[in-house]
């Protein structure tokens, strides 16, 4: 479904992503791991169109997508969440998801019809799925950090994606929240059949839910394979897992 081939992205002289390779098949959960500064977020930004690659190819469903704008990619079926909470703070939880749904349905140029209950059914469905239904009227700025990260995912779901890209979905969460978030990811994959690409620091969690893992070090792909293959790999052990219990 998604194929990234030898992508390079540099900032000034620094090659943040340097020859990354990645492929994701439909229905899989694929994780990208790597130490801080390995270029995981930059890679995700290239895939979702927030950055244009300097060289290399990004293909989605056999179409070249490298360099396309984010709103175009979103319409092609790629939604993402962000590492740092990136929601609409002055809008309610309901409105946050509603905007995403309306944007997908291309209704945001309707200037006279009342928005209040538009797409309510679908929005409620999404909120029930992620467990924020009871909090739908809360101004999203007032949610706990964990809830905001979940809302982050809910907004991405509003785009009805085929490929959901989650940039460190559990960043900054406590153990319980993390557990809840991981269960949510698993559920989205199982029940909605979503293809999910995510990156994560906590390796235990990664091996728990990922079908395949890609390891990045210093901008490049070290290995890509099943959890077992990755565990056995020497280079990974040196670069990453060796650091006593990971992260």
């Amino acid at each position: 479904m998604l194929r990234v081939e030898s992508v390079v992205k540099s900032f000034g002289g620094f090659k943040a992503v340097n020859g990354a390779n990645l492929h994701v098949e439909a229905g899989e959960i694929v994780a990208v791991i790597g130490p801080n500064g390995a270029g995981k977020t930059t890679l995700f930004n290239v895939i979702t169109g927030h950055l244009a690659p300097d060289s290399g190819r990004v293909r989605f469903k056999d179409r070249e997508i490298g360099g396309l704008a984010p709103h175009v990619l979103c319409r092609k079926g790629i939604s993402r969440s962000f590492q740092v909470v990136n929601i609409f703070p002055r809008l309610s939880v309901f409105e946050n998801v509603q905007i995403a749904v309306l944007a997908r349905e291309r209704k945001t140029f309707r200037i006279f019809s009342p928005v209040r209950s538009m797409a309510a059914e679908e929005v409620h469905g999404i909120l029930r799925n992620v467990g924020l239904y009871e909090k739908q009227d809360v101004e999203s700025d007032l949610l706990s950090h964990g809830d905001q990260k979940v809302l982050e995912i809910a907004v991405a779901l509003g785009g009805k994606p085929e490929l959901l890209i989650l940039d460190e979905p559990t960043a900054g969460m406590g153990p319980e929240e993390t557990e809840r978030c991981i269960r949510l990811i698993k559920k989205l994959s199982d029940e909605l059949g979503l293809t999910i690409l995510f990156c994560e620091h906590d390796i235990g969690l990664v091996f728990e839910i990922a079908d395949r893992v890609m390891v990045m070090v210093r901008g490049g792909t070290v290995i890509q394979g099943s959890c077992d293959e990755v565990r056995r790999n020497r280079e990974v052990q040196d670069a990453y897992l060796g650091e006593d219990g990971g992260c």
Partner: protein
């Protein structure tokens, strides 16, 4: 829902009854308050709801006024056509300036907008043969039905009410929500599939149009236009109205406009330093009322619906 409808309707009824017991001068002031309120509300669509730094909004007010005045004095076309031509010209100006400015974000947008707007002002100020230069255009022939003070007042009231209703619909539409989303988080808006600049441009054109309507109303009330109304300091004054009333509320700018217009009318009779006064107000608002008068009132009385108005 009922309650939110009742207050504006009551206010409308009260305003409609005013000419029965208020002297003419006060009716004139109320009309100025109304059209200035519309001007501030139109700016607020861009700046409060859209987060677009439209620093020189008075240009569209001026273009709307000059457009209407020039059509009425020179074209010989039917009056209704002249009255709508001003706002349409303002919308067209807004489109052109918007296309140029919208590639820039935040403050850079504001700087470029001030520059272009000042250019328009300079042209109006110097082009004696067409715009009358710094003399403006005095004695615009306003059509008979709305030429009397009462007629002009009712016309202003009706048009303002209609435009406020339209703007309210726009703010409560999917477009309005998307605009708020862009204000809160342009990056995320783009990531969920919203074409940020196209929405911003649309908002600017709408804001420019309604700013132009306010300008056209000004012609009806004053029967004259002058370049000062589109000088950049006036834009600042309109901006202060939005801040003072509450940028994140719909009716805030109208409240702010009422306060400032009344203050200017009554204070400048006694004290010549109106702009000093304006500066002090701005400072106090920024320090003590960052949410504006209406914003604070709503938070106090309706904490749950803090964002609405």
């Amino acid at each position: 829902m009922k309650r939110t409808c009742a207050a504006p309707l009551l206010l409308l009824a009260l305003l409609a009854a005013l000419p029965l017991f208020l002297p003419r001068f006060h009716i004139y002031i109320v009309a100025i308050v109304l059209l200035t309120g519309l001007l501030a509300t139109s700016l607020n669509l861009a700046i409060g709801f859209g987060g677009i730094y439209q620093f020189h909004h008075a240009v569209f007010y001026g273009v709307g006024a000059y457009g209407t005045a020039l059509m009425l004095t020179r074209s010989g076309l039917p009056a209704p056509f002249c009255l709508i031509a001003g706002p349409l010209a303002a919308a067209a100006f807004s489109l052109v300036m918007g296309i140029i400015c919208v590639r820039l974000s935040k403050l850079y947008f504001g700087m470029l907008q001030i520059s272009l707007g000042s250019l328009v002002w300079a042209i109006v100020y110097r082009w004696y043969s067409f715009t009358g230069g710094d003399n403006g255009i005095p004695g615009v022939p306003v059509p008979d039905g709305i030429a009397s003070p009462e007629g002009a007042y009712y016309y202003t009231l009706a048009v303002t009410a209609l435009c406020m209703y339209a703007l309210h619909r726009i703010v409560r539409s999917p477009f309005g929500k998307a605009l708020e989303g862009i204000r809160d988080n342009p990056v995320r808006s783009e990531a969920i599939g919203i074409h940020v600049r196209l929405h911003q441009l649309t908002a600017l054109v709408i804001a420019g149009f309604f700013g132009g309507v306010a300008g056209s109303l000004f012609v009806v009330i004053e029967t004259s236009v002058f370049p000062d109304m589109m000088f950049w300091t006036y834009s600042l004054e309109v901006l202060v109205m939005c801040l003072l009333g509450g940028m994140y509320t719909f009716f805030g700018p109208l409240v702010g406009a009422s306060i400032l217009v009344l203050l200017r009318t009554y204070v400048s009779v006694h004290i010549p330093y109106w702009h000093l006064f304006l500066g002090i107000i701005l400072t106090l608002v920024i320090i003590f009322l960052p949410d504006g008068v209406l914003g604070v009132a709503i938070r106090r009385f309706r904490p749950k619906e803090g964002r609405l108005a």
